[in-house]
Amino acid sequence: MALLEIRNLSVSFETTAGRFFAVQGLDVSVDEGEVLAVVGESGSGKSVAMLAVMGLLPDTATVSADAMRFEGRDLLGMTPRQRRALSGRDMAMIFQEPVASLNPCFTVGFQIVETLKRHTKLSGSARRARALELLTAVGIPEPERRYASYPHQMSGGQCQRAMIAIAMACSPKLLIADEPTTALDVTIQKQILDLLLNLQTESGMALVLITHDMGVVAETADRVIVQYQGRKMEEADALTLFEAPRHPYTRALLSALPENAVGGRLPTVAVGDWGVRT
């Protein structure tokens, strides 16, 4: 049985121009210990789909799905309370905009300790020790000093790493990472990815990795989903995707790598329907 199973997920928003489907008919399944990468057009509903899984969409969104199960438990039928207990402990998410997702009023250390308090039975001093350990693990220099820093006193990448530390605090079974390394330089990106992959091999955590960086996909993912305008265009294992992409959109996307510039211009992907019904 898959750890996370979603069938026919649709998310729509009411707009003045009618109903807008941000996600349409999406099937996702993630096994224990698997790394699933989600790539695709900006605005194609990657974040919205994962926020739907976490139950974190605003009220203006309408979510529907044939099935949405985590460890066999039905997520749609859960009370908000059960859902909250699950998210943060068994299911965690690293949000796309790190600075916006940290609470500006509390120190970073406090925010990690809060998560530990809610979901574990550690004592006060053990929580602090664990928080420092996490900050060290995500490569934040001088963790003691950073423990007492407020989000606005940290750089974009430091905030992002703090977010990662919070998400990993309770060793979740499923970690959804929405572009977790966009603000990180490549050395720290490597460190973070190695950390996530280690966690994943050691504890069998499943990882859903939303990213735009094909290099990251190539170095971490087992399976890849390519999304365009709210729909899944292609699903393949990492090797197949790079070796022999089947879908024309995937091929077009891969051809837009900056390495492929001709005469200083980059090939762009024409806005087409790529088999999406209009």
């Binding site: 009411e14 707009t15 003045t16 009618g18 109903r19 807008f20 605003p58 305008q229 709210g230």
Partner: protein
């Protein structure tokens, strides 16, 4: 996709906001009640069954019409000197609503401007303004209002001015606190880089993001204003008897609380309903202005 390609026809902001406002049932209910009150106030001379100050000596403290001893001509009963309560409430609406609106408008406007200046400029000006506000807040509000009326001279308008001055520091502090939280946010910096001057930054960029608490405070202040005006009137510093002002009616009726409940209840209900309707409007307004609750 399901999005239409053409850009939708631009809707005037007012109409758009009205649509969002209209979606909230409570807000529409509040607005309806409030408008009904205003209408009543305007039409009072036409619809009131009696003269508000006419004393029916043969009908002192008549209970409301639906009770045993009630009389049909006095729908809500009469007071201790035999004046028809319904007529007094209708006429009183003119004074009370007017007091509430004028006082809150003055207090809100001045408080927001003062608070914005303090929070935005900061430094010495901030310290100066805030100490002044602290001084105003340190006095019991009624006492301060009394002193002010004593200086300005008694009368309804001066009383309103005094109450506005007393309520104003609450708005100033609230605005300042919100401005302090917002002014260092990156979007403010971004607007500055885009070339926005100080006034634009204060009123167009920062202020709209501080409105939530201000609206709540404004709706709460409305009832304060009515009651304070009544208190001043009671002390002979505001509206003078026999002006049928709701707060004054309440104050005059205190001694009959146990013997004739309707004399206190009716003006009290009038104030309560007004305040509730205004609170509903305030909530609706806050939600209307909150982009998070809007559809695109």
């Amino acid at each position: 996709m399901t999005e239409s390609a053409a850009s939708p026809p631009p809707v005037s902001p007012l109409l758009e906001n009205w649509r969002y406002f209209a979606r909230s049932r409570g807000a529409v209910l509040g607005l309806t009640i409030f408008l009904a009150m205003v209408l009543m106030a305007l039409l009072a001379p036409l619809i009131a069954p009696h003269e508000p100050n006419l004393q029916y000596r043969d009908a002192l403290l008549t209970p409301p019409a639906w009770t045993e001893k009630g009389r049909a001509t006095f729908l809500l009963g009469t007071d201790a000197v035999g004046r028809d309560i319904l007529s007094r409430i209708l006429h009183g609406a003119r004074y009370s609503l007017g007091i509430g609106l004028v006082v809150v408008s003055i207090a809100l406007t001045s408080g927001v401007v003062i608070g914005l200046a303090a929070g935005y400029v900061g430094g010495k000006l901030d310290a100066l303004i805030m100490r002044l506000m602290d001084i105003l807040l340190a006095f019991p509000s009624l006492l301060l209002a009394l002193v002010l009326v004593a200086i300005l001279g008694p009368g309804l308008f001066n009383a309103m001015l005094a109450i506005a001055v007393v309520l104003q520091p609450h708005f100033a502090r609230l605005t300042r606190a919100a401005v302090l939280a917002e002014k260092n946010r990156e979007y403010v910096v971004a607007a500055r880089v885009a070339g926005a001057g100080h006034l634009r930054l204060m009123f167009r960029t920062i202020l709209p993001n501080c409105l939530g608490p201000l609206i709540v405070q404004a709706t709460l202040s409305f009832s304060h204003a009515i009651l304070d005006a009544a208190a001043l009137g009671f002390l002979g510093m505001g509206a003078q008897p026999p002006t049928p002002e709701w707060g004054a009616m309440l104050a005059e009726a205190r001694e009959f609380i146990t013997s004739a409940w309707w004399v206190v209840t009716m003006p009290g209900l009038a104030i309560l309903i007004t305040v509730i309707s205004i609170n509903l409007i305030g909530d609706g307004l806050r939600d209307t202005l909150d982009p998070k609750l809007k559809r695109s």
